[in-house]
Assembly symmetry: C2
């Protein structure tokens, strides 16, 4: 992983940027506070663009930026252990534009950086602005994943940001010009974060040989599926790096599982409800391991966002469901699987040597067309990693972008 160490000592910055924020980030100040007032249960803050924030007392006390360990920035104040009532004595906007809160119980004073405070405002409007929705696609809106040159990614943080943002938003991207070495896929993954080793190893090979005299794997079509739906923690990202491809067919195939889920929700609300709430059984048959998991085929989190899909006909185990739901669950499954097999949801493209496809294995289904007639070799090398490795790397790149903005604004 390349080094993204925080480069700035806050003590050298012009106030209020010298204030701690309880983390390692700097925050540009796009708006100034013009007034602060103590209300019955909240502190009301008015900003120069007319926006109003209201922060509850326990939230402010919990996030006091000086009640952290000086080295780790981890909280040392334990709200659960607080003996005093959590209530300010007084609040004001300081000369340098920080919110100052003086607490009644222990007399502690907290100073909040205006950039940090605005960034964490939890008014309905601010929360809505921060939402990151996936960009759904199908064959009518996308022909292939966005492409990025490996040399440019390594040389330019803004290109790297665009590459990783594309994976986050569309679920996929292709690197061109990666080295044709056995370790390249691990190096690309390692730039993002930590690899996920599984029972298939740290790196794995997808090697198909159509030369009929060799004892090779088959060249049949692989229908769209997600890898390892059999695991409680289905791997989040899959990388497939093409080293050799001289077969006639063997196109890579991707389906946006969230797009298909949205289609099912619109066409068959009952089927959608069944697949988001009732677990299916997945099982990995093997002589040496026995991974099984039960989970809904379409995962939805407590915020109502999709968390992933689990699809793989040949990785299902015997369904263990309430008797009265079994037939309907099978109908729902057939409807969902049927949609994912429709060409209008599928994009097909050819990976050339040096290409590295990265995709969200919990959102996208992947597959392969048949290798076609004639001899030829196709060799991909792959690995897994988890999705929040990508989020962490993106957060770091965005942190550095903010740092550059704050430092540039410091003047001579």
């Amino acid at each position: 992983m390349s080094d993204l160490t925080e480069p700035v000592d806050r003590a050298d910055l012009v106030p209020p940027h010298d204030l701690g924020t309880g983390d390692f980030s700097l925050y540009p100040i796009d708006h100034a506070m013009v007034a602060a007032a103590l209300e019955d249960r909240t502190v009301r803050v008015e900003w120069d663009d007319g926006h109003v924030s209201r922060f509850h007392f326990p939230w402010l006390r919990d996030n006091c930026p000086c009640c952290v360990h000086p080295y780790t920035q981890e909280q040392v104040f334990e709200l659960a252990a607080a003996v005093h009532e959590i209530r300010p004595e007084d609040v004001l906007v300081s000369d340098v534009g920080a919110l100052e809160v003086c607490w009644s119980g222990d007399g502690h004073a907290s100073r909040y950086h205006p950039g940090w405070l605005r960034e964490h405002c939890y008014s309905e409007g601010s929360r809505r602005e921060r939402l990151l929705a996936p960009v759904l696609w199908d064959a009518s809106t996308r022909a292939r994943p966005d492409g990025f040159d490996w040399g440019a990614v390594v040389a330019d943080e803004e290109v790297e940001l665009a590459w990783l943002s594309s994976i986050r938003d569309t679920g996929c991207a292709v690197i061109h010009g990666a080295p044709l070495t056995d370790d390249a896929v691990g190096e690309i993954a390692g730039r993002i974060g930590v690899l996920r080793e599984t029972n298939f190893g740290r790196l794995f090979d997808v090697r198909v040989d159509t030369d009929p005299v060799s004892n090779s794997n088959t060249g049949l079509e692989l229908p769209p599926h997600t890898d390892l739906p059999t695991r409680e923690y289905q791997p989040g990202l899959q990388l497939l790096h093409c080293l050799v491809n001289d077969v006639a067919g063997g196109l890579s195939l991707l389906v946006d599982g969230y797009r298909v889920a949205a289609e099912l929700r619109d066409r068959s609300p009952r089927f959608y409800e069944l697949l988001t709430t009732h677990p299916w059984d997945f099982a990995n048959r093997s002589r040496t391991s026995d991974y099984r998991w039960r989970a809904p085929m379409i995962g939805v989190d407590s915020d109502g966002n999709w968390t992933g899909v689990r699809v793989g006909n040949w990785l299902r185990g015997p369904l263990d469901a309430p008797f009265d739901l079994v037939e309907e669950l099978y109908e729902a499954y057939r409807a969902f699987e049927g949609l994912s097999h429709q060409a209008r949801f599928q994009i097909r493209f050819r990976l050339e040597p040096g290409d590295c496809l990265i995709f969200d294995n919990r959102r996208l289904l992947h597959g392969r067309t048949s290798l076609g007639p004639g001899a030829g070799r196709r060799h991909l090398r792959g690995c897994y990693m988890d999705r929040d490795e990508l989020r962490s790397r993106l957060n770091m790149l965005e942190r550095r972008r903010r740092t550059r903005k704050v430092v540039a604004g410091q003047g001579p």
Copy 2:
């Protein structure tokens, strides 16, 4: 990982054990089928103990044990692609006691092994029998984790089964007599399955030195918490292997998070509801990475079972919640955190060199009492792995136990 390869060729077994089951397991036959009848939408099977099973047509067709790849045992029949109506022409119990179904559309015949079929019956009673509930505990019902001798675990599969079952059911166990080497914790984990590498490495050290002249970590109490609640995939199992412990204090501390969750549910249903449905923000402050995640503190799956708890005061980020819920969420958090700090939920015990504590990091909170007065050293070496690695290993050991039972019943 030690080898647990399936040792038996089914073709050598007495019928019906020569029948395929669509997996690599053998199934003891504890009950025989006495009758099979075709109903309107199901096949009704009567067993010699009076139990009645009813299997829907698509379920039976989907689980036909011969429609699998001969080597991988993975399904090759695609229910979603079936063109015929899924309906039997005829059903019967064969001479060797198998269920035979002849399908009307394509004339295919399926033969189901009676042991497999009974094991997968989804009647309400059979489903209830298969449920595995965690064994909740507190300081009044448990003094310390169950203990197991490492030599016995390695020598005897039944001891290994007892060890892993204890971790599954109580959330913890201690190995005694592990080698005092740097790699031992990795070897113990590797016997179960694949290790989980994180940004803290593959193995990590918890080393505290109270000698005041050294530049060591502090010896303060560590309140109960789970590790890495900041990750989308919070690690499932944590191993802590004690290499040195000659401090006066430094007792290990465990809390059954599910027991505390049950207490909260009984005492404050509203707080329990809030903590199971509304996400909290967790953030790992670091100069080189930036992992954050939002999830409810108490996780519940679509079956209504607990999936884990996320607790760590100093690993929380600024709460991003609907304005009207913020105060109540803080009250709920304080109630949950307050319970976990009560001595009646905590067990404390001393790890000696050669002990290796393994616990479910998503169920149990762990901590440490202060190291106490005087000089001394304490060195633990740890690693993470995911919970379904343990399940897979348990499944393999249970598979082998079933195999032994079937083979023993074959007679001379």
